[in-house]
Structures are given as structure tokens and as C-alpha cells.
Symmetry: D4
């Protein structure tokens, strides 16, 4: 699978969101899926944001991931301008700690869905994007199956570490 | 004060929001302020919505009132495209009863304020719009002063009704 | 596009959820996407539920939609057993009115995403499923584009109805 | 635009709120709008607070901004005593982190609106005040237009910084 | 105990709150404590409200009960103008069902307490007022003791009714 | 298994809670577990309530189920006076719809647990009580196994009903 | 006013609550009102707690203040065993940050009020207790009037500090 | 009471939950009840988790304690696969601080209860497990009685510490 073109577009409202969204960039990298990251703001620079959304499909983008906090409109506005699947990551920020972002991202009106993941769930946004791409790419589907096996191994590894700690603490 | 041009623009996401937003239309009417009502949707018809917002100032609009429920992005998106003051009315709907709309309307990022009123507060949105217009129109300021006096009288009238009911119920 | 095999699987915890989930069945029908509906319960009949999830891919299912209320585990449990994209619809029920279902559906741990839509958002779950399928089916992508155009027309139609009502009420 | 008289009055309940409200003072300064800051308390010194509110208009004040936390009554009480537009800034404090202040500020009864901004949104309160003043001052309207262009540039600058960081981290 | 002067003042924002506050009037009547009911509004008629509060002590009032919904400022504003104990009853209304009123009533700043009872707890506001008066009136203290004994009897009576219903339903 | 003595004690604050708690009485009956129902109130008749709790063990009671709404203290107070397992059922009532009861029931301090079930979850309280009793009664364990099989059948039956309805509605 | 007997009883669930409740002890001291502090627990040592409550009146106690966190039952249980006024202070603790304590303290059933103050509002609990005692002690009423004047002075002092800081920061 | 076999099974989603769940291990140890700790994940390794649950009874396990955060499905999934009593401990994590885990654990559907304790209430989960085991083990019942006596002593000890601190601070 050679990837010259980015197929996932990751949008966020500020470069300060990069810490929270980095999990998505890394996870896509591990699946060999090229992505493009852009800082956009539907409130501060709406024309750029909507232009980006409306051009995404023709540029070869297949899935768009949007991370935003507070009155998080980015994912919804992008979904309004494209027929590509849009994944929303509510980001934790300010006094309401992301609950505002969760409501503003997930409670979309009929006709314009946003596939919402957990508050701060950038990693899962990437996995979800890969699952979508894998619908037509058997190789990605295989990598997902391998990834799922690794999840099982991680649980077993975590169990080993827990047993060890219990022994050290004299609790087993 | 002759008003040939509407100076307040009232936007809402659906004709079914008309019941909730009618209080704004009526209140503006009582102050002799012409308004224009439009059904727009930043999610279902984003280009129309943003075009409307960006043209409002040059068309003579001075204040924009937006009513929306759920992931209520309308006020925020309009505020992104204009420098006019934008008033947001979170509407009660669905399982979260307007709490989602309140968060999505009020928690705007720095640079793009939305003047948010109570959930379902269409009447107050109109009063706020009149207060803004009255900054440069002495006649409106006088009507606001008269309106405030009427509020006092209403309280006195409510007290009379309460005393009467208490007497009827043998509680005074 | 001839569809002999269902490609979307719609799961729900009870036949009483059918009213809430019917919007998904109808929307998929309008896009010509065959779906299969099953009542399953990860709490009352976990083996059946997990078996269904684990066999979905090989049976030709591409996307799974799960509707559940309260401690809504269905979508998460299904996502644990498949690498297909899983869409979760939190359903309104009981004292917490779907807020419990929203949290239980969207707050998934790293590695196992659920694409969550609004509380009661069955229609949008279907649109999201179609967007995923459309990634590899140009015909569906065209239908989505047509659907988006229809959304715009609906907004215009709603505006016409609002203007009419305002005239009837003497408010314009 | 020479400003000898303050036209915006910024009220807060304690000098300890100054950190949270400073954003409003600075933003007004950048727009060349003179403001006056006063510590007042509708609960601890109600007569002073209401006197201040009732005299504001005749003193030349055009817009009042009130910052308050917890059972935040300041904005509402001030709005009760003036027909000027009142902007409320709910401040984060204590166990409920500003949610109490948001509810107490925004849920005003019919007749007495408070234009509420985000929890901690002092900067936006100032922008909103400028938008109101700009309705009758073309020069301020131009500055708002310039401010909006700067917001776009800031987004572009943030994007540059994000790209740089991604390169440094080997993620692009 | 002859009561020619009302000693408890019950304030509420509207005659429509009378249904919710009637429980307080009735309970005081049962304890032989005279009360006076007034409709006041700290937002719509602030001068009257504060005048009433500031004159209460000299008029012989000992305890003030305030019922208010939404951004319920009445109790707090009254407490600001008197050193008498003020009891606040948050009333259920609108989309937030009294949670806004609870926060706005109970979260008072240091120095100005409001003795808050349950949402809709008008009956308990009266009992609390009687408990305060009983501190210096032994006869009221005796009535409270009798009232407490009646509460025990009511529980026993409720148990009898429950046993009967269980027998009728064949469940015991 | 002959049962002459009630082994489960079901307590509730009022006979009006009987509707909500009836599910527990019926479910225990189906498992052949005798129970005793009492109306008690830790707030209105605390001595009776605590006496009942402290005597429960010696009277042969094995598990206590407490249903209460609002500031639901019943389960916690009973748990303070017994070493028997206490199951709490938060009941939906009033403005906060049982969320207050859930918090007041589940958030017990270290040393005094209450086994809390869902808001309104009286049926599950009974099942949990049976699970506890079944730890030392093989016959009850068998009935639980049979009950679990019936849950599976119910799901299959619900699926049949759903398929039928889909056919009737022309949706399959 | 010579005070040999404590007239206010301050109860709390643990010595670790002393930090949060110290404000009440200090404030009562400033008013010359003697108080007694006891660590009690209605869940861990219910008999002691209820005995204390039931004996309070005859021991000369006039008002009881209870501070508790989480499933805060202390104030309610004490109110069940006395006809004295009981003031509840919900304490911030754990994951729900005192919201659980607020609900468990304020949402009392009819017949058994708890005068609830803000989360962490120990100082205000003391002021409220003094207001109750002052109903029959003119000297305390005078101290409250002086205290209210001091509150006004504090606001003026805070304003001075704010002006100074604004000058230092070049913002005025 | 010789215990060669673990009778309580403690499950958690990650070794990082060990800190939060250690209270359960220690408390069981103090009661001389052997337990077994396993890291399992119903989302990342569902087959292992369900196998563990379904085999627990035949392996001699009597009670299962599950600690999980966020969309906490572990306890519910385990309860679906066993007729043993299952105790759920919602763990604090992420933006929603355990409220998501509380809802996802406690709001189980009819037929499949989870005995839920406080957020982070691992210690209480152990006490509850001991209470269940004590139903058929008189020796454990005696230890619980002794434990309850110790709780009383702890309260008395805390009172002593509080009195001492008050003396040191000159507050008594």
C-alpha cells in the first residue's frame, strides 16, 4: 500500500490542541495511513474552514477528524459542507471540562451526523477512520485484526504487571 | 421613527421553532422595531446561512437574533461572519432539554462572542436588541424606560391577584 | 446496485426500541442499502450478541448500528468483537433521559471506538453508515450529494412555511 | 475618536476577580474604548451597586459588563436598574466551577435580559460591548472589521506553528 | 399566643408561584403563626423588593421566606438588605427544572447566607421558620414537638395502608 | 425449601412508593423467597427505622432492600445499624428525577456500603437479594440459572416480535 | 452577654473536616457566641450521633450546624431527632466535588427541613445561626448590623485595592 | 476458617487501576477472605473476560468485584455471564471524573443487577462482599460486628484529635 496522498484530514482549532490530537496522528502512522493536519477555526476563519471541508473529497480525502473544545462547532460545520464521514473529538478545556464540547459535537440535527468519540479520544478517532477505510482495503482490515490481537496481549501484559506489583506489596 | 427597512434579523433552524421564537417578533413589534424572520440552517444549508450573515450589515441589519436547539451552532456561525452583535436563544428540545443548546451557544471561543439569553428566552432577546439599538436612538430609550415602568406595574397587578386568591382560599 | 445481502446490521436491546430505531431502517431504505434488524441483548443474552458481532464481517455486513438505553453497553460490546465500524445510538429512557446511555456509549477506552450520534439519532446513524459505504461506492456518494441538496430545499420550504404563518398571524 | 468619558463600566464583586476580568479591560483598550472598573457587590453592598447601576446612563455609560461567580446576581441586579445593555461574565469559582454562575447569570426572567458570554469570557464581553457601540460609530465598526481579519491571520499563524511542531516531532 | 402582627413574610416573584408556595402559608397557619404574602420581583421592580426587605425588621417581621425560579435572585437580594434570617425556596420552572434556582439560591457568597430548602420545599420553609421562632417561644416549641409526634403517626398510618394494599394485591 | 420466616425485608418511606417497589415483591415471590414490606422513614420516624434495622438480623432477615427518593437516607441509615447486606433503590421523584436519590444512596463513606441498583430498579434489587441468598442455597442458585435462561428466551421472543412488526410495516 | 454554655453545636463527620468547618467556629467566636465542636458520624456511629441530636435542646443548644460530604446524611439525621433548627454545610470531597453532598443535604422530605448553605459555606452557616439567635437577643442583632456595615467597608476597600492594581498595571 | 481457595474475584481493566482497587484487596485480607486479582478488559479482550466470568462459580468464587472507569462495562458484562453477585466500583478518570462510570455501572437493565458502590469505593466493595459471604459464615458475621465496633472507636478517636487541634488553635 503506497500512500502518496493523505487520505485522512485532521483539523483542530489551535496549535495548542496538538497535544490532545497527537494520538490520532501517531495511530494513523502506525497503520500506514497518511494524514494531513491543519489548524482551522470555524469561528475565527470560517471561510477557510468551509473551503477546506468542501474541497476535501476532490482532493482525495476520505475521512475528516475534527478536534475542538468548548462550543465545539468545527466537526458540525465541516460535516455541513461534505458528504465524507466526519469524526468529532470533543476536547477537554475550561470550566465545563469538555462536557460542552461533547454536547456541541454529538447532538447534531437530522441529516448531518458527526461520528463522536470520547472526550479527548483522539486515538480512537484514528482507529475509527481506519475501520472506515478498511471497508474497501483488505490490507487495512488485516492490520486492524492484528491490532485487536495486540490489544489482547496488552491486557495479558497488564495482568502480569499487576500480579508482580501485588507480590511486591505482599498482597497475593 | 419611520422604519421602512428591517433592522433586526431573526434566524431559526426550522419553521417549527416559530412557536418558541414568536415572543421575539411580538416584542420587537411592540417597540416599533421592524424585523425580518428567516428559516436558515447552518448544518443543512450552510452557504445560505453564512451568506445571509455576511450580507446583513450592508442590508441595514443592526442586530441578529438566532434561535437554535441541540448542537446549536447557528448563532456562533453567524457571529463568525459578521461584526454585528449576535444574540443567541438556546431552544429547549430533545432529551437534554436545551442544556446542550445553552452550552453550544454560550461557550464561544475568544474573539467571537454570542450574547446568550435564557433557554427559550426569545422575548428577552428582543429586549436586548432594542437596548442595543436604543444606544443611538433616544426615542427607543424612552420606550425602554416606559417598558420598565410597566414591568413594575405588572408586579403590582400580580400582587393584587395574589391577595385576591389568598382571600378566596381563606389564607389571608 | 443490486443488493441481495444486507450490508448494515441494526441491533437493539428490545422490540420496544423499534420506534426509536425505525428512522435508521427507513433512511437506509431510501438510500437503497439493505439492512438486517435484530433484537439482541449484551446483558440478557450475551453469547448471542457477541456471536452476532463476531460473525458480522464474514456474513458480508459492513457497518453495525446499535441502539441502546440506560447503561448502554451494546455498541461497546459489539465493537469489542469486530473490526467493522460500529455506530452507537444512545436511546432516551428512564430517569436520566438518555444521558446515561450517551456516556456509556461514547466514553469508550482507547482501542475500541464507537461512532456515537445524538441521543435518539437513529436517522443520522443511517446517514453515517451510508457515508462509510459510499467511500467505495460512487453511486452512494452521488445519492449523498443529492440528499444534501434536498436538505437545502427542505430549509427553503421551511422558510416558505414560516413566512406564510407569519403572514397569517399578522407578524410580517 | 477622542474619549474623555468612560463609556463602558466594568463591575466585579471583588478585587480578586480582577485577574479573570482583566481581559475585558485590555480588549477595550485595544479598541480605544475608555472603560471604568469598579468593585461592587450586590450582596454585601447592595445600595452602592444599585445606585451605580441607576446612575450609569446619565453619567454617559453605554454598556455595563458584570463579572461574578457562584450565585452570580450582579449582572441581573444591575440589569434591573438600568435600560442600558448589560453583559454578564460568569466566573469560575468553588466546587461547581462556574456552572452555578452561568445558570444564575443567563436564566433571567422575561423583561430583564443579561447578555451572557462564556464562563470566564471577559475578552468576549469586551468585543460584544464594542459591537454594540459600533452600531453608531463607523470608526469602531472598521476596527472590528480589522480585528476579524486579524483573527484569520492568527489562525494561519497557528497553523504554521502546528506544521513546524509536527515536522520537529517527525509527524509530517 | 395572640398574633395581631404578621411575623413571617412570604415573598414570591409572581402570583403564578402561589400554587408552589401555598404549602408555606398553610403550614404556618397550622402552627398559628401569622404571615403576610407579597408578590415582589427583584428584577422587574427592584426598588419595591429592596424597600420591603429593608423595612421588614422594624415592621415586626422575624423571618422572610422567598420563593423564586430560574435565575432566582429574590432570596439573595432580600438577604442583602436585612439581618433577619432569610429562607429560600428554589422553584421548579422551565428547561432546567429548578436546578438553576437551587444553584442561584444556595451558592451565596460569604457574609450573606440564604437558608435554602429543597426545590419546591415551601412546606419545609415554613417548618424551618417556626423552628427559628420557637427558639424564644416555648409554646411554638411544644407545637413542634407535637408535630414531630404526628410525623411518626403518619408513618405508621402509611404502613397500615401499605399492608392493606399488599393484601388486596395478594402480595403478602 | 419451606419458608415460614421472611428472609428479605423491603423498606420504603411511604405507601406511595409501593408502585415503584412492587417489582421487588413480585420478583422475590417468583423465586419463592418470602419477604416482609414495611413503611418506615429515617427522617420522620427515625427511632422505628433504626430499631427495625438493628433487630433485622436476629429476626432471621438476611438481606434488606430500601427504596427512597430525594435526599434518600433510608438505605444508608439502615446500613449503619446492621451488618446485613443492604440494597438501595433510588426512586425517581421531584425536580431532580432521582439523581439526588442516586447520589445520596451510592456515595456512602468507607465502612458502610449500600449495594445500589438503578434508579427505579426494584426488580433488580430483588434479583440481587436472591443472588446473595443463593450463595448458601443451591436450590436458589438453580432457579437463578433457570431465570437467566428465560432472559435469553425473552430476547429471542422480542426478536420475533420485532421481525413481525418490521414485516407489517413493510420494512423487511 | 456572658456565655458559659455553648449554644451552637457544630457537628462534622471527621477531624479532617475541621479545615472546611473552621470558618464557622471562627465566625461564631467573632460574634461572642460560644459553640461546641464534635466529630460524629451518622453512618459509622449512628447511636452517638442520634443521642447527641436528641439531647441537644435540653443541654441548652439552640442551633446545630452539620458539615458533611458525599452521601451527606448527618444534617438530615440530626434534624430527624430534634426540633431545633439544623443548618447543613455540604462539603466538597471526592469525584462529585460536593454536588452529591448538596443534593443529599438540601432535598429533605416534607416535615424535616435542613437549612442548607453553599458548598463549603461554613462561614455563612455561622452567620445564619447568629441571625436565628438574634431573633431574641437584641445585642446580637446589633452586632449583625455592625457586621453588615463592615461588609460594605470591605467592598470599598476591595475597590481601592482594585484601582491601585489597575494603576500599577497601567490599565486605568 | 482455612481458606485455600480464593472466594472473591477482583477484576479491573488495567494494572493502573491497582491503586484505586487496592483498598478492596487489603480490606478482604483483614477479614481473612482470600481473593484473586485479575486484569481483564471486556472491550480489549472480551473473550477472556467473559470466560473468566462464566467459569467463576465452578472455580469456587462466590462474589466478583469489578473496578472500571469511563464507559465502565466490565461489571455489567460479567454480571451477564454469571449468577453470582457482582459488585461494581466506578473509577474516577478523565474529563467526566467517574460520573460516566457511575451511570454505566449502576443503570443496568431488569434482570442483570450490579451492586454499585461509590465512585472509587473499593474498600466498601470488599465490606459488601464480606457481608454477602457472612450470610452463611457465622465467623465472618462476628468479624463484621467487631469491624462495626471499630468504626465507632475510630469516630471517638477522630473526635479526640479534633478537640486537640481546636485547643492548639485556641478555638475551644
Amino acid at each position: 500500500m503506497t500512500e502518496s496522498q493523505p487520505r485522512v484530514l485532521i483539523l483542530m482549532g489551535s496549535d495548542s490542541d496538538l497535544d490532545a490530537m497527537q494520538g490520532a496522528v501517531r495511530a494513523l502512522g502506525e497503520f500506514g495511513v497518511r494524514c494531513e493536519v491543519k489548524v482551522l477555526s470555524v469561528h475565527r476563519a470560517p471561510d477557510l474552514a468551509l473551503l477546506e471541508a468542501s474541497r476535501a473529497r476532490e482532493r482525495g480525502i476520505r475521512v475528516i477528524i475534527c478536534g475542538a473544545g468548548a462550543a465545539a462547532h468545527l466537526a458540525g460545520a465541516v460535516a455541513a459542507k461534505t458528504t465524507l464521514p466526519v469524526i468529532g473529538v470533543p476536547l477537554e478545556s475550561g470550566a465545563l471540562r469538555g462536557l460542552d464540547a461533547l454536547y456541541a459535537t454529538v447532538q447534531m440535527p437530522p441529516g448531518v451526523p458527526v461520528a463522536t468519540v470520547a472526550i479527548g479520544g483522539a486515538h480512537n478517532a484514528a482507529i475509527l477512520a481506519v475501520q472506515m477505510l478498511a471497508l474497501s482495503e483488505p490490507e487495512l482490515a488485516e492490520r486492524l485484526a492484528a491490532y485487536k490481537r495486540k490489544l489482547v496481549e496488552q491486557v495479558e501484559e497488564k495482568d502480569r504487571r499487576a500480579q508482580e506489583r501485588l507480590r511486591e506489596d505482599g498482597l497475593s
